[in-house]
Point group: C3
Chain length 333, copies 3
């Protein structure tokens, strides 16, 4: 593809030779024919030394010896270019002969089912759904159009996926929540009667687990992205556009507002509400509700400035410990 | 079912019309014919506004416009009612034709084996065992009566499950422990010769992993409940009636007493002993043994009152930092 | 095997009767014919009371009533003896008839493929590779000689395993990294074009997840051992001989040097460098780069002595809080 043609598609301006690009890559691995991107001066210098044929960069950046396409957001333009240079090949419908598919499964157009899958009764599969090898879909699930289930995903009964949901390998959706009633030394299992609803454009990382609701449903809002090895307990409601990094755990019946951003290994306790736009620092323990638009961090999590000040005070006290202890001893004597 | 008949089964007293109930649900989703429960005034008010036909509540609660069944513990009565309204349907024995079952596997009565499973030699399956799709059971495992393995569970060789064990999707039992010997810069793998024993009525959540013992066995005591994504290392001994929430990790050769309760994301170090009835707060790091009946919390974990006092002191010091630092400066000058 | 013959193989010296050993076990479970080991006095006493036929111990240890083999490192000698007493049985090549193997897969000698596996096009399998039941190997993977994949491992496309790699059940390698670009409220998925390279003698524990690189590759160095439920993000480079205990998470593009030792449940933030020989204490949050040869611990992680001193100071301040608060009040009044 001529870079002048690509520039039209991504609303950029070509500078330098109107060369051809055939693929994309990072600066470190770029070869002739590759498009790469540079958001700052130092990366532009590295890109110039690479074999890449064209660099996506900003309007503000200096003139270069390489052909450039100047755009508003080079990283965004790079990912959009990826789709133009590697368009999704229209697939043909396919069911691997080793797949076990109940006779009552309803198929949309152009569904692909991999080897060794098992799809139980009353399941509905939307158009262009891809279910890779080794998945198990239990009865009465609904899988919306263009969902992609990577190998070995398990959906328990009644799970509902809206359109364009991506579930990576080993994800389990709809398993029983952790609900018990203790009575005179005996632990009774509480029925887990709700289901899981995952809205459109959600992506969930490998080996994460999403519990079904106990009496209510567990809901994950549209466009939310959840990384690997996360745990979402029963009845949790996660809003739209939430970013949750790896190994986070959300306890039962907690609500997370839209546009919340969470780093990795965060724990949020049960039955609390995290407001919209909250940002939570890595490895925090959130033990209460958090109001909208606040940044929290720590164990237990507190507003960022407060946690940082406490850390600074403790450092200072440690440094000045001999004076401090002398004062206290004098006071006490 | 008439509520007067149900009341006899759950030892409750009917108040109001002797109506029919056909199913159960939470207050938020109750429809006509549903039984629900209310443990307090505000939930009773919500239940009255719902379409539910009958409410399980306590003896102490006020008179209601809805038919009630008064019981000692409404939540417990609800879960017991669930089994009466939805009795387990006696199943018929079944082996899916796609299952691969070694000729030396011993079958109890009424065993059900799902699609795409693999069961290796010398495995014993008790009466009423259910093994769902995609499970892999390696050689010489023993699976007790009425165990239920959800899809894609893996049991390594020699694993022993007693009766009524529930393993959720993706659980791995009996994988090698993390044991190595370093010698002059080389890391040698230490043989993992023990096995895993899981006693009756244990339930383990999705994608949790239980390592086999290295020389000894790993043991999980009866009635213990383990949530999703937990890690139990080699040679760990967990007592009876332990509750362990999601994403906890127990390091090698540690012993956990009966009736211990653990919140989520707790780490317990290796070779320590946690006494009976200990309660451990969320995200704690337990770096030593803990005596019976103590509540601990924090990183590192300490008795709850001590951790809370330290937090309060640090908050106070931070608030009074300017006075404090002035005093120290005056002292030093 | 006569212990005199074993002693030659492990470079030890026999003391006492030249008895026969047929197997190995720990002190607690040793039976007649078993070899066991004792590194200290108290374990030697226990070993003497056991039924074991021979004890591996050090040159420094006292004379015993049991036959001994004295060696430099008893635990190391025990694991080496394991291989002599239980030599690997040469296996025969085997492909289970239920396996689905693309016609373009290249086979080394003596490959074993378990039931219900799926191996896609252009995959190369080295000599003596074992792939157990339920694995899914996507297109264009390379699996080096003597690799062992336990049940239900998933390799995404282009994954490269060098020789002798062991992946335990449920491991996922090559899943998409967690990369998105936010633009005016919309979250776009960034292409994940790199792959995963796992070097020789690496072992990875059950249900761990290793993301593919986004533009670069994710690399795990030779001899590194990773425990269960760990998360390695995109573009991470892990050195050689690294020990990483369970439930650790390494965020994107971070580099970990050779010979680093990590306890469990550690989080390391993105884009930092951990120097060679660093030791990181359990449940630490590493929020910056760490120089070579340092021991760090805490949340956030600091040099061990500093974290310990801060803890001691905080304890002291808590104990002396009444004096301290009185002083501050007097100062302020």
């Amino acid at each position: 593809m001529k870079i002048s043609d690509l520039a039209v598609l991504i609303k950029g301006a070509v500078e330098g030779d109107d060369t051809d690009v055939t693929s994309l890559s990072g600066i470190g691995t770029a070869r002739a024919g590759d498009l790469t991107f540079a958001q700052d001066e130092s990366n532009l210098s590295l890109a110039e030394k690479s074999q890449s044929s064209c660099v996506l960069t900003t309007v503000a950046m200096r003139i270069s010896s390489k052909p450039l396409i100047r755009v508003h957001n080079p990283k965004l333009a790079f990912l959009i270019s990826y789709r133009f240079l590697h368009p999704l090949v229209p697939t043909t419908p396919f069911i691997h002969p080793s797949a076990v598919v109940a006779s009552t499964v309803k198929f949309g157009n152009n569904v692909r089912i991999g080897a060794q899958t098992s799809i139980e009764g009353q399941v509905t599969l939307g158009d262009n759904v891809i279910i890779e090898s080794g998945c198990v879909i239990k009865e009465n699930c609904f899988i919306g159009a263009s969902c992609h289930l990577y190998p070995r995903v398990v959906l328990y009964q009644d799970t509902l996926l809206k359109e364009n949901v991506i579930l990576h390998a080993g994800v389990v959706v709809g398993c029983d929540g952790f609900g018990y009633v203790k009575d005179r030394g005996t632990i009774h299992k509480f029925p887990q009667l709700g289901k899981v609803i995952i809205e459109e454009n959600v992506e969930i990382g490998a080996n994460s687990t999403i519990d079904r609701g106990s009496l209510d449903d567990t809901i994950i809002g549209a466009n939310t992205k959840i990384d690997n090895l996360c745990h979402i307990a029963h009845n949790v409601k996660i809003g739209r556009n939430v970013i949750m990094a790896a190994q986070c755990g959300i306890a039962g019946s907690t609500t997370i507002g839209d546009d919340v951003t969470m780093s990795g290994q965060i724990a949020i306790t049960d039955n609390v509400t995290i407001g919209k736009n909250v940002v939570i620092g890595g490895k925090s323990a959130v033990i209460g509700s958090v109001k909208e638009n606040v940044v929290v961090w720590g164990n237990p999590a507190r507003p960022l400035a407060q946690t940082k000040k406490q850390m600074a005070v403790l450092s200072w006290l440690t440094k000045n410990f001999s004076s401090l202890s002398k004062m206290v001893k004098e006071k006490n004597s």
